[in-house]
């Protein structure tokens, strides 16, 4: 059990490694990104920088590593203002990990890229190569040293980008969404690497469970201001605060806990199928194979039947073949074997019309949104369906309302927040009323508030659903059946409830979240700390003799909920809201 501590004022370190004073910053387009930031960071601290999408986290990180110059106020590093020569020198010990590793890997080969930083630090070619090899060894990529970065998988790119920073032996690591789009296995590798980093760590992420494992201090940004600066324990314990900053991920904890105990509340109703067993499945693959032009066998003897109305999860590590399978189901790729849609073999002709029946929400909305306004965006597919203008307008309004984007018609999709863009992409697909809806990593890059909104929308839908996700919570909340893919094959086709109980399958696919489970348990315990105020007798030391009287004071009682039908367990502990030291001598009254 954790003990709840009172909220502390912002920490002021007399010898801060990084300090920010009254920092304001406005982008050239007029957006005020930071307003009066004050922050003091000591060497060796591990800080979680959290907040909604657009709250100024990335801007602050860029200020801390000198990529942006303050509008007003100042940023000090090692006691000096971060500008001029000190800035140039400082950049060599401030490592900034970008969200998209492709931005960071500009070298011709992985080794050349990782050695770039050490060379800029003035080391010789031999020393730089030795440092690069050592860093690649740490991220398990030494066998890919001469590979061109664009040939690496996403997880490998991310690790290579981190190696590029580790090779410079930075004093500070600034990480922007380090685990976004990583599969759980890669995420665990990343976590292990970061845990061994001995310098100062500042991590921006929406993944509070990851941050809980890594950081001790939490700085919450809201509309460019530091809304809170306290321990991560304090942050996660206070649902009210989390909620007010769009960070409440507690809905995940409920289901995580229930996964081990039985069927999830709030998940889909997984009744046995009442469909005619002789009816043709909506989509069916038999002995389906697909090989890329470079010879890679991406799908190997896939047998799959999707019945109308089913809700299916497709899980597996990065590179297991999930995206290729989606491309084949959508008719974007054609392999060998049998593919039937609605009982009809998918010929080349039918393949070109599959888009009318199958809808896909891409992992990265930017791949899907390209029009100048929300109205045009949602009408794009509807026009291709040949619908009359009145119906296009009616469906646009209906589905924008469904995803909570009423009144957004004239907004530019490019300027929407991550969560809004994801919901717009969903509306664009849903408006076409696909018979099979495919969601590819719907939670990637979303803050908890946007995740909760998306989940609520998806739970309302009555559609045949194929969900591709590493997010076991969404799998649990939305699907009844789970397909486990590994190296191009479907290894297991089982009920989601059984899949969640099967540790072997989880381990095989790197989907076992041991640290997440640990973090969830700890956070649930913190969130079940209640304040109570009631009257007790207390002994006070008087001048002549000890006196005893009754007066009310606040208790914080930490308790756990073993199950809905069982009583709360109160541990024998006490915590007083007042500062009277005499109370420490009182007998415990919550045994």
């Amino acid at each position: 059990m954790h003990e709840l501590t009172p909220i502390a004022p912002p920490v002021e370190h007399p010898h801060a490694l990084l300090s920010v004073r009254d920092l304001h910053y406005r982008y050239p387009d007029g957006t005020q990104a930071l307003c009066g930031i004050r922050l003091s960071i000591a060497a060796g601290e591990r800080i979680a920088l959290v907040g909604r999408n657009g709250s100024g986290k990335t801007t602050l990180i860029k200020q801390l590593c000198g990529l942006l110059a303050p509008g007003s106020g100042q940023v000090d590093y090692q006691g000096q203002r971060l500008q001029g020569e000190h800035l140039e020198a400082g950049r060599l010990s401030l490592g900034y990990l970008f969200q998209d590793p492709d931005d960071q890997l500009f070298g011709h080969t992985v080794l050349a890229d990782v050695a770039f930083g050490p060379r800029q630090q003035g080391r010789s070619a031999e020393q730089a190569e030795a440092a690069a090899r050592e860093a690649l060894q740490r991220v398990h990529l030494v066998d890919k040293a001469y590979k061109e970065p664009h040939h690496l998988s996403f997880g490998q790119k991310k690790r290579a980008a981190l190696a590029g920073l580790l090779a410079m032996q930075p004093a500070v690591l600034l990480l922007d969404e380090p685990t976004a789009n990583l599969d759980p296995r890669q995420e665990q590798v990343f976590l292990d690497l970061l845990k061994t980093f001995s310098g100062t760590l500042i991590c921006v992420s929406h993944d509070l469970l990851f941050l809980y494992e890594l950081c001790r201090r939490a700085v919450v940004l809201d509309q460019g201001r530091v809304a809170h600066d306290y321990t991560l324990d304090d942050l996660v314990a206070q649902r009210g605060e989390l909620r007010s900053h769009g960070l409440d991920f507690s809905f995940r904890l409920v289901l995580t806990a229930e996964a081990e105990e039985g069927p999830a509340q709030g998940g889909p109703v997984c009744a046995p199928s009442t469909a005619d067993p002789d009816a043709a499945p909506l989509a069916a693959l038999e002995q389906y194979r697909f090989r890329y032009p470079d010879g890679t066998l991406a799908l190997d003897r896939i047998d799959l039947a999707v019945q109308s109305g089913e809700r299916i999860a497709l899980v597996g590590e990065n590179g297991a073949g999930k995206s290729t399978l989606l491309a084949c189901l959508l008719g974007l790729q054609q392999g060998s074997g049998v593919y039937r849609f609605d009982g009809r073999p998918v010929t080349r002709r039918l393949q070109t019309t599959l888009w009318r029946q199958v809808g896909l929400v891409f992992q990265d909305c930017a791949d899907q949104l390209f029009c100048a306004s929300v109205e045009e965006e949602i009408a794009f597919g509807l026009r291709r369906l040949g619908l009359p203008k009145a119906e296009i307008r009616q469906r646009s309004d209906e589905f924008l309302a469904l995803v909570g984007l009423e009144g957004f018609q004239q907004r530019v999709p490019l300027h929407l927040s991550g969560g809004e863009r994801k919901r717009l992409a969903l509306a664009c697909v849903l408006a076409m009323r696909p018979r099979l809806l495919i969601l590819d990593e719907p939670t990637a890059g979303l803050d908890p508030h946007s995740e909760a909104l998306l989940l609520a929308i998806l739970q309302q839908l009555e559609a045949t659903l194929l969900l591709v996700s590493h997010d076991i919570f969404f799998v649990q909340a939305l699907t009844c059946r789970t397909l486990v893919m590994h190296q191009g094959q479907i290894l297991q086709d089982t009920a989601t409830a059984d899949f969640l109980q099967d540790r072997n399958l989880g381990n095989l696919n790197g989907l076992a979240f041991s640290y997440r489970q640990r973090g969830s348990d700890a956070i649930r315990a913190l969130q079940h700390a209640h304040e109570q105020r009631h009257v007790h007798d207390h002994r006070h030391a008087g001048e002549a003799a000890a006196t005893e009287h009754a007066h009310p004071h606040t208790h914080r009682i930490v308790h756990s909920h073993p199950g809905d039908d069982q009583a709360h367990e109160h541990p024998p502990r006490r915590f007083y809201g007042d500062d009277l030291p005499e109370h420490d001598h009182d007998p415990d009254h919550h045994q």
């Binding site: 140039e88 890997l105 066998d143 040293a145 010879g295 791949d367 949104l369 390209f370």
Partner: protein, 306 residues
């Protein structure tokens, strides 16, 4: 006085000639493509823990040759080849290029891919030049019985074949030029020869990010296709393509800014570190001299009266 010789050809022979030529060209293209693909897909996954040039038959004379000498020599030799005007020296140039390929242990698949890239250009010459070259005394024209105005000039065909041979000879040399040293080293060599350093950096970054932009463009195109987009000749298509290109530009621009930020964050101040130390040895100059002498010999042969 020598006049133009007209040889009347029956229509079926012309048809057979055209169809045979077209079939041969298409067949050659398909064969090259298949061969290139088979070469690319064959074999085990390479070992990326060592430089590919070492595992891919590196260590030849061309690999060890100073990159500045290599660039100057091959470019100079290529200019000499462009000056050839007779087919025999051009064919000899192809033979020399093939010998260089063997000496450099160049990848056949990559050479074939390069050849495929110029096939359309060569094919256009072979078809157009015999039909359009001006008639001169001594020319031989194949003329269709019924269509007197359409003559197939054999001198034009020889001219086109000579151009094709020169193009092939030079294209074959691109693999020894570009694939016997890492691209950064080749660009470094160019910079040392006086080319602006910024151009080299831009080429290097373009090579890296071309793949990223290509993947982005493909994903966006897929995003349009799954919502029913098909290219047609109408206003809607035009608008969709304009949106697509605009968004691609915006994304590319934003990425460029982020890449530059990432470079600055790791200490970039306008220069990349030198990828290799270049040292000129007497042997490098000797090899360059021998090669250029071969080019000069071809030129002299070309200029000798036949």
């Amino acid at each position: 006085m020598v006049e133009v010789v007209h040889i009347a050809v029956p229509w079926w022979q012309v048809a057979a000639l055209l169809m045979g030529g077209a079939a041969a060209l298409i067949g050659a293209l398909a064969g090259l493509r298949r061969l290139a693909r088979a070469r690319v897909t064959a074999g085990e996954a390479p070992d990326w823990s060592v430089p590919p040039l070492e595992t891919g038959g590196g260590g030849t004379l061309l690999h060890r040759w100073d990159v500045r000498c290599k660039i100057v020599t091959i470019l100079g030799y290529s200019f000499m080849l462009t000056a050839l005007s007779r087919p025999q020296p051009a064919v000899a140039a192809i033979v020399i290029s093939l010998l260089v390929l063997v000496a450099a242990r160049a990848s056949a698949a990559r050479v074939l891919i390069r050849l495929l890239a110029i096939t359309g250009f060569i094919g256009m010459f072979l078809v157009v030049m015999p039909l359009t070259v001006p008639e001169r005394d001594g020319d031989t024209l194949l003329v269709l019985n019924q269509v007197g105005w359409l003559g197939f000039n054999l001198r034009g065909l020889v001219l086109a074949a000579t151009i094709a041979a020169k193009a092939v000879a030079i294209t074959l040399l691109m693999e020894p030029l570009l694939a016997t040293a890492p691209l950064p080293v080749t660009l470094h060599g160019l910079a040392r020869l006086g080319a602006p350093e910024m151009v080299g950096q831009m080429v290097l970054l373009s090579h890296r990010y071309l793949h990223v932009f290509r993947h982005e463009a493909r994903r966006m195109a897929d995003g349009m296709r799954v919502r029913g987009f098909r290219k047609r000749t109408d206003l809607l298509t035009l608008k969709a393509v304009a949106n697509f290109l605009g968004m691609l530009f915006v994304r590319s621009f934003e990425r460029t800014e982020r890449v530059f930020d990432a470079m600055r964050a790791r200490g970039y101040k306008g220069r990349f570190p030198e990828p290799a130390e270049l040292r000129l040895k007497p042997g490098d100059l000797l090899f360059a001299g021998v090669w250029l002498l071969a080019g000069l010999t071809l030129l002299v042969w070309d200029r000798l009266p036949s």
